[in-house]
């Protein structure tokens, strides 16, 4: 799960390392996703997210499709 300068850099890195392409999103979307995913992590009343809660976060950020389906 890495940051790159652009999609062109992602493609070159995948080719050079023989990796299959996954999914690429903007850093802006990542920031929103990270906030939704992690913002309760230090809350005194923290409870673990259920699988469905996490899937709902992905769905809410437009991360749908088989690649983003949690087990």
């Amino acid at each position: 799960m890495n940051l790159f300068r652009s999609e062109e850099h992602v493609g070159r890195w995948l080719d050079q390392n023989g990796y299959e392409a996954g999914e690429t999103i903007s850093a802006g979307k990542l920031a929103k996703l990270a906030h939704a995913w992690w913002s309760d992590r230090l809350a005194p009343g923290w409870q673990p997210h259920t699988r469905d809660q996490n899937q709902a976060i992905l769905d809410r950020h437009g991360l749908t499709g088989s690649f983003w389906q949690l087990p």
Binding site: L3, Y19, E20, A27, W37, W38, Q47
Partner: protein, 144 residues
């Protein structure tokens, strides 16, 4: 993972923030007693944190990494490593402060410096690639 395990987990996270690193197993035993060892294993099995292969020392308390990574984060007067870019962006979110992520493009090595302000990256010009489908993130979380 019961309520007592969650309390231990919350203590570990508090200490990670305070120390700027993971608390060691010895420190946790001193602070929490002998019951910490089986609790750590239950938390690991529940994916509430990740232990090193020795099953005692902490490797990840996501989004925080216990080992140096390419994702250094400064936030709220402290600094930590994120396990990946997602986690790096998550550290300011978890702390509810603005932050700064320092990394480098894995392709060309060019430094990447991003401020996280009000849930937005500045500059907003980079991209984030996920190699492993979500169904398999926990198959090998260190690789993911």
């Amino acid at each position: 993972m019961d309520d007592h395990d969650v309390q231990i987990r919350n203590h570990i996270y508090r200490r990670f923030v305070e120390l700027g690193r993971a608390p060691t197993f010895t420190e946790l035993k001193d602070e929490l007693g002998d019951g910490v060892e089986p609790a750590l294993r239950r938390l690991h099995d529940a994916h509430a944190l990740v232990l090193e292969s020795d099953r005692t020392e902490i490797r990840m308390a996501n989004p925080f990494s216990a080992v140096p990574t390419p994702y250094r984060v400064e936030a709220g007067g402290g600094s930590w490593y994120g396990n990946c870019a997602w986690d790096a962006f998550g550290i300011p979110a978890a702390l509810h402060v603005e932050g700064h992520v320092s990394s480098a493009c894995p392709d060309c090595g060019e430094p990447i410096e991003i401020d996280i302000c009000d849930e937005r990256p500045v500059p907003d010009e980079h991209v984030f690639h996920v190699a492993v489908p979500a169904a398999h993130w926990w198959d090998d979380i260190v690789f993911t």
